[in-house]
């Protein structure tokens, strides 16, 4: 097929893409002046834009909304009765520590997603897009780096703790991918060399000597990019910033406050990273796929989450970071209001909850609701796209701005979701 479009120069090609995208996709495309307006629109005064950093606590497996943030009293109640809190809301009976912090959180009880499958549900909660076999979408931290740039010369802009894979930088260059940390106690991987200080330096010197002829001959940008990555890495290895990844710098009392589990340790590390300037930290914690004996599972996993989350909020408050740090809790879906034959709950994307704290959101606030038994959204439904766009807006990202992938397809932060500005103080 002949495609005259290909013969156009880059500038007219871009122009055309923008125009066509506007015409055929109904997306808003911004002129230079519009951009400034839109940035203001995305983050009107007092409506988002206050979060310099985000800690995204991701509860992998599907967190039961009824047992945590949206308690019920009827048939679907579960093992524990709802409890009163310091905020104007009731919480699930397992949330005893969070009850004391409820005046600092906004609970969104009207989340609704389209997929009840773990992988797809996780993907959309982290990117705002349904998974496709033809493109990978960027995670929120990568979007932030795309718009706001790097946070420091040595530290990564976004970090994922305990997460494994994930969408990463998506169609952005790999340099925008979050740096993964498997075990919070071990910190950043591969920073310890087999050779000690002097020997390591000697190795670097040898490498440079042996490589000099090649580097002289090949001055291509690919080779240069690698030279730069080696320089950056050496800078990081010599930098004080490395301590940001080192939990041994924390005292015992603080460690105990957060709890010894993966989530507690992850939350503590997240606070250290944010304190040192990392912009986006995701902490992934599993154990939420509670098909069997949900009461036991909630006591264990839910209890640890309650402790860690509450500790994080208190600690951020103590260090003066809470106003500029948004803490978000999400999960791929909720769990069935009805208890199943194995005393558990199954996957339930139709209605579930997410939580926001700090970073300019209201305290003691509940947005949206479900019906009496928690099976349906009753009021102010929030889609996953809205949820992701809201996180973007909290950070001041231009969520309406269309960004084109290298393949020429148009994308926005949160797939055109509507920002839930009502939760911002």
């Amino acid at each position: 097929m002949s495609n005259p479009f290909n013969t156009w120069d880059a500038e007219s090609r871009r122009e055309f893409m923008l125009r066509t995208a506007k015409a055929t996709l109904g997306v808003s495309v911004l002129s230079q002046a519009d951009k400034i307006m839109a940035a203001a629109e995305a983050a009107p005064a007092g409506k988002g834009g206050k979060a310099k950093a985000v800690i995204y606590l991701y509860m992998a497996g599907g967190m039961s909304h009824i047992d945590t943030w949206d308690p019920k009293t009827g048939e679907t109640k579960g093992a524990k009765d709802p409890i009163s809190t310091k905020g104007d809301m009731k919480l699930g009976g397992y949330m005893t520590e969070m009850a004391k912090q409820a005046d600092k959180i906004t609970v969104v009880r009207s989340m609704s997603s389209k997929t009840g499958v773990h992988e797809a549900g996780t993907y959309v909660m982290k990117t705002g897009y349904e998974p496709r076999g033809t493109i990978v979408h960027p995670s929120i931290g990568s979007w932030a780096q795309h718009f706001l740039g790097k946070v420091s010369k040595t530290l990564p802009s976004s970090v994922t703790i305990g997460g494994g894979g994930g969408p990463g930088a998506g169609f952005f260059p790999p340099a925008l991918a979050p740096v993964p940390i498997g075990d919070p106690d071990r910190g950043l991987q591969n920073v310890k060399s087999a050779a000690n200080g002097d020997a390591f330096n000697k190795r670097i010197a040898l490498m440079n000597e042996f490589d000099s002829a090649f580097k002289d001959k090949f001055k291509s940008s690919d080779v240069k990019a690698y030279n730069d990555f080696y320089d950056e890495t050496l800078k990081l290895l010599k930098s004080e910033d490395l301590k940001a990844f080192d939990l041994s710098q924390e005292d015992t009392a603080t460690k105990e406050m957060y709890g010894a589990g993966q989530l507690g340790r992850g939350c503590l590390l997240a606070r250290r990273l944010v304190q040192n300037g990392v912009r986006f930290v995701e902490v992934v914690s599993g154990g939420w796929d509670m098909h069997n004996y949900i009461d036991d599972a909630m006591s264990k996993t839910g209890g640890a989450m309650d402790k860690a989350f509450a500790a994080l909020i208190q600690d951020l408050k103590r260090t003066g970071l809470l106003d500029s740090t948004l803490v978000v809790m999400g999960s791929e879906f909720g769990r069935t209001p009805r208890i199943n034959e194995n005393s558990g709950r199954d996957h339930y994307p139709k209605a579930y909850s997410t939580v926001f704290a700090g970073g300019g959101v209201k305290g003691g606030y509940v947005y949206g609701s479900t019906n009496a038994d928690g099976t349906e959204v009753a009021d102010k439904q929030v889609t996953v796209q809205d949820f992701v766009a809201t996180i973007g807006a909290a950070m001041g990202l231009p969520v309406d701005k269309v960004v084109f992938s290298p393949s020429g397809r148009p994308f926005t932060v949160g797939d055109k979701g509507k920002v839930v500005s009502d939760i911002f103080a």
Binding site: M1, P131, A177, R203, L206, D211, F229
Partner: protein, 770 residues
Amino acid sequence: MKTHKYLLTGISAVALAVMSANAGESRAWTDIQGRKVQAAFIKLDGETIYLQTADGTVYPIPLSRFSAEDQALAKTLKPADDANILAQVPTNATAAQAAQKIDQLVKMGLQRGNLKMAEEYKKTAAEELKAGKQPKPYKPLVENPKCSDEQFVRRVYVDIAGRIPSYEETTAFLKSSSSTKRAELIDKLLDSDGYASATYNYFADMFRIKDKFDGADFVRGLPYTQWLKEQITKNQPWNKIAYEMITANGKVWNNGAAGYLLRDSGMPLDNLANTLTVFLGTDVACAQCHDHPFTDWTQKQFYEMASFFGATTTRLNGKDFANGDPGKKLIDDMVYQIEKVGKDPKQLRNLIGNVIGANRYEVRDRETNSMKLPHDYKYKDASPNDPVAPKLIMWSPKDKENPAYKAVDAELGVKTASTSTSKGAVSKATAAKKAKDAASMAKNSEGLRDTFGKWMVHDQNPRFAMTIANRMWARAFGLGLTQSVKSIDNVDESSNPELLRHLAAEMVRLKFNLKDFMRVVYNTQAYQREATTEDLAMGAPYYFQGPVLRRMSAEQAWDSYMTLVLGEGLDKLKNTQADPYGRAIDMDLEKTTVQTLSSKITALQNLNAEAQKKMGGSLADAGAKPKGSKADDDMMMEDKIVNYDGMKLMRASELEQPAPPGHFLREFGQSERLVGDSNSKAGSVPQVLTLMNGKAQAMLTSKESLIHRTLKTAKDAAEKTEMVFLSILSRHPTLREKDIAKKEIQAHGDEGYSNMIWALINTREFTFLQ
């Protein structure tokens, strides 16, 4: 002679060198600048004249390049009797002959490029003069010099066998005095196991092959992987492989080719978008959701193509069994049995469900084509949810006459309802017509995939041969003839359209034999030149003055590490999990009893333990024994897989697909296999940390590693240094490097070798392939 420089040089040089027998038929052709060349007229094809020089080579040259008289003459001349054959490579040409033809086309492309660039230069030079600047003289692009044997041996091992050559392999090649040693090495490597492994890695990235299929915990990619490796090993022609994948039926463990559709179970539209991209170089992913904004593809066309798969299911449900889905009853019976022996079924319930569930994943054609337009279809030529009849896309109106289409037209005519599909035609179907269409489609759902498959792999399909030829070319040169191998939008906009068309013709001439095709490509002078040193301007055409400098892929780097710890024996270690897995999980749900189910579950639970039995040994005995030690073979008896700090020491192609997050392979850019062709060659800080301090690095510098053990066989420090350089960089150290090495060893003794190994592995020279 110098005046001939950029125009007809390709011909003139040859023509003047070899004036011989055929000269009688040839005449002097004159170009627009009055330069002459002696050649015989073959044919005029559109705007291209084909001329044959005295040595028998045929060159295509644009008509406009000739003087007015010669242009007029060309239009009156009769084509040579054997014109069409002459313009091609003879059917039984040797690899060397076929390579020569490609080199001529590369040369012509370079000349055309120079003409274009000289034009542009004139413009900028004039502007600079106006601005009072003295423009730099125009430097025409020239072919890179022939690469050295050291460069060649490394490049060809990495490209064909997917790894660097061992010390022995390198020295053997460098020492050989055979005048045809390059061609011999190419032949040897194409016949090696390494070829299959490396080619598999390329396709695994392209096809997004995974061990764990999304959404179905127990349907694994192992049999699909094994099937593909078998096809590559037996050098099954590409058109047969592709046809099998599109038309396969059954469960993945009974027919590995079915893995292609099962990989995307539940997302057939994504699968189709990928099919069009990987097999036909046509990027229509946009049209899945709306009319393509930049090209003429419409959403309706996309659904018409999808309709060829509209009767196909990848997951059976109640309708597909004579008496409904037997799975539910099986689970209940099993749970009852477990409870009867006093055990708690809760823990086993998921497992039972997964085993049964996996047996519902099967490619099968149903009796009804259920393809419908989406519920939010918004164009005027049809209504949402309308049934869609299958229809083939065309790249040009001329395709109507193409035999690939004609061959299937008849079949389609019988099989499908009539369709009116021209863009913009408004025809709201009435309910009655819809019902009729649906009924008609239902009747004609048979063999749709077969029809599509035949058209797709047809010799004359406008894109099929060209797409794979372009991809294979890009594998060798680091760049395809189009900006992206995923999209050949307009052949004429390629950096060398004649070459692209020729490569497609070669693919057909060679009957889609990929090995023979690559043999031709690797034997070209163009491939055997030095890599281009300067940066390529973004989007600027590349004229293949040599291959481009490429970073090793993640698999090539890992397999090169494996060569350093396992030696040449690395290909003995294979992933053998596919068959035991298939045997363990396979059930006929309609005939399975609780007893069978129970034994299946036991077998599945034992799979891991069975796989563990293949593991054993340590780094200290990994790889061939150093020369001179006795009983080489005895020590190698079982070829156990060594586990070094959690890493299985075997080729990337034999490991989990893709490797788990955090593995060296993933850190170095192996694709997550969500999207095709996603292996990354970009760096990052965590990646460099892995290269500096990772487990793989610790393994290589360990005194137990094969490379260290091999050093012990050297007679002195100088020879050891030679060995380290030849083992890692496939070249001798320079005098300066020998000197640095000497000092290092004097200062640090044995540790000095570890330091050198570390340093060399971390050089850009190791990572980038020149």
